[in-house]
């Protein structure tokens, strides 16, 4: 089973995402940027679902750091944000995001984006 790491500070959303995905994937959760980064280094996930507005370290920074790691270079990153201005999207692309999801999203959107990133190409 493919591994997914969710880095999301809102517990409810993190929990909901886990429940939606745990049927088909192995799901790990972190509530904070730095913790998430550590876990990522340890378990080497196939996909990271990253929330933009994280406490302490912003989503962009975490994304950037993850991309700097050697063995995380092939990990897919799906960024989740409530802000959907053009500026944020291009910034996301610059730090190495693979896809974007805007809040609020449907469970179906989450599933289809995840499967596209992990299985499609």
């Amino acid at each position: 089973m493919k591994k997914i790491l969710i880095i999301e500070d809102d517990e409810n959303i993190a929990n909901a995402e886990k429940l939606i995905l745990e049927g088909d994937y192995e799901v790990h959760v972190a509530n904070e940027g730095d913790t998430g980064f550590e876990i990522a280094k340890k378990i080497n996930p196939d996909l990271i679902i990253l929330d933009l507005m994280l406490p302490n370290r912003g989503g962009y920074d975490v994304c950037y750091n993850i991309r700097q790691e050697e063995n995380l270079k092939s990990t897919k990153i799906l960024m989740v944000t409530a802000l959907n201005q053009q500026v944020d999207k291009s910034k996301g692309v610059m730090v190495g995001t693979d896809a974007y999801l805007t809040k609020p999203f449907e469970a179906e959107d989450l599933l289809s984006n995840v499967s596209k990133l992990l299985n499609g190409q």
């Binding site: 809102d10 909901a16 802000l83 809040k103 609020p104 469970a107």
Partner: protein
């Protein structure tokens, strides 16, 4: 105690005018004039030295020259009259050339004054202005030379000067002032304080006029007329002084107004930025809990937390459609706020309107069994903000679908109308009453019908459409009949460059 009224009897005035024409009076008058011009020259010169603006520097340069020449003229007069009063200098010695020199100086000064005050009119047409100045000076010089030569050929100079010389110079003065008034009449709108300048030159005009009458009617012998013309040059100069002062003061006033405006702008900008940040933060804060709502709804509906009975499923459907509506409302408010803040400029691009034929934009039509047809050329390229025009289309067509019964139809057409192009969305729905028309594009206005509210409208769709159309400098037209249907037509000008409002 003398009665106040006796001081200003005609007799006293007469005596004063007479005094002015004597050497003492002349000295007094020239001394007063000298002091006025000294102050004025000081004001203008210091202003000129302080100014950085090149245009204004030019304008002030002419003022400066005019007033300095007046200054020199009056200084010479003061010296001469002082000489006559306090030394043995005999004015008869001067009689041979002084009147000519004096007249020439006066004329040059007059020309300079006229040009200084009319300068703002000619500012853009520098060639014409310089040409006129040179022409005028040339006329004076020729006139002066003619007089000089005639003087050389005459024996009795005072006879000549008394009549023909005077006559000639008076004519020149008259012509110069008439020219000034003519230019003022033609271009008065471009001059500030034109009333005052007009008045000054009219008053100045009186001097050669009176002199004229004197020469024509009384052979230049009327003392009365000669006395009468004494104060007018001074009055005219005073008026022109007032104008100069006003113009100089203007700068201080304008500077103050400018800094006031800058302050106001800073405050406004700050408020606007705060509002934008607020809306942005709020919409983010609203979207986060909404995400949880949707995700858990989904989990519930998919039986993740157990089987659901019919009633529970119904309840969840209602929760889902209401939270969808909430989501759309937040998006619309954010959109409208961004559009209204004016910060979002148009992203102009050339695109084909045929991209609107994407069924994703009108998915609801299929559910309601409404047919959607398109009438536009296979290639219809337009220049506009693609995202915004798409939004306009989506809003119009979802309205059309919303207000049309099952089995109805919606027609979308695009037309090239020469200087503008149009997008039209027509439906066979219930139509819009006349009384609703004026409020159609108001924020949150929804036609008062129970049905439409539960259909999930936000009331902002048409406000957003109107705002986008305004930004493109276009217009929108609504045709509707109750029971028959409605047609919304949007017109966008093709030439957006000059007219686009940002």
């Amino acid at each position: 105690m003398a009665d106040v009224t006796t001081i200003f009897t005609p007799d006293a005035l007469h005596k004063f005018f007479f005094f002015l024409s004597t050497p003492d009076g002349a000295f007094f008058k020239s001394a007063v004039e000298f002091i006025i011009f000294l102050l004025l020259s000081y004001m203008v010169i210091s202003e000129f030295l302080q100014t950085v603006d090149n245009d204004r520097k030019k304008e002030l340069k002419y003022f400066m020259i005019a007033f300095v020449s007046l200054l020199i003229n009056s200084l010479l007069q003061v010296i001469i009259y002082a000489g006559v009063l306090f030394t043995d200098f005999d004015i008869i010695d001067l009689n041979s050339f002084w009147p000519v020199v004096d007249r020439i100086l006066s004329l040059i000064t007059l020309v300079l004054l006229v040009n200084a005050f009319i300068y703002p009119v000619f500012r853009k047409k520098i060639f014409r202005f310089e040409f006129d100045l040179k022409l005028q000076v040339l006329i004076i010089l020729i006139g002066g030379i003619v007089v000089e030569i005639s003087w050389i050929l005459q024996d009795n100079i005072s006879d000549f000067l008394d009549f023909w010389g005077d006559y000639f110079f008076v004519l020149l003065e008259f012509l110069i002032i008439a020219y000034a008034l003519y230019e003022l009449l033609l271009h008065s709108k471009r001059l500030r304080y034109r009333g005052n300048i007009f008045l000054a030159f009219w008053i100045y005009m009186l001097v050669p006029l009176l002199h004229f009458f004197n020469i024509i009617l009384f052979d230049n012998d009327s003392i009365r007329l000669r006395l009468l013309e004494q104060p007018f040059p001074v009055i005219a100069i005073l008026l022109l002084t007032q104008v100069t002062y006003l113009k100089l003061v203007d700068k201080a006033y304008l500077r103050e107004k400018l800094s006031e405006t800058e302050e106001k702008y800073k405050v406004e900008k700050k408020l606007s930025d705060m509002k934008d940040e607020f809306v942005s933060v709020v919409s983010h804060e609203l979207r986060t809990p909404l995400t949880s709502v949707k995700l858990y709804l989904s989990l519930l509906e998919n039986g993740k937390f157990g089987e659901l009975n019919e009633k529970q499923k119904e309840a969840l459907n209602i929760i889902e459609s209401e939270s969808d509506r909430l989501s759309r409302l937040i998006s619309d408010i954010l959109s409208l706020s961004k559009l209204e803040s004016g910060k979002e400029g148009l992203r102009l691009d050339v695109f084909d309107m045929n991209v609107l034929k994407n069924p994703l934009y009108y998915a609801a039509a299929e559910e309601k069994d409404i047919s959607v047809s398109f009438y536009m050329p296979p290639r219809f390229a337009v220049r506009a903000d693609k995202a915004m025009i798409t939004q306009v289309f989506v809003n119009l067509i979802s309205n059309a679908i919303k207000f049309t019964e099952s089995g109805g139809s919606v027609t979308v057409s695009c037309e090239d109308l020469g200087r503008e192009w149009s997008l039209s969305v027509a439906d066979t729905g219930k139509g819009i009453a006349k009384k609703e028309m004026s409020k159609l594009f108001d924020k949150f206005y929804q036609v008062e019908e129970h049905m439409t509210r539960t259909k999930g409208g936000t009331g902002l769709g048409l406000s957003i459409v109107k705002k986008i159309i305004d930004m493109h400098n276009g217009r929108i037209n609504v045709d509707s009949e109750i029971g028959k249907g409605s047609r919304f037509t949007v017109y966008i000008p093709k030439d957006l460059n000059r007219e686009v409002k940002i």
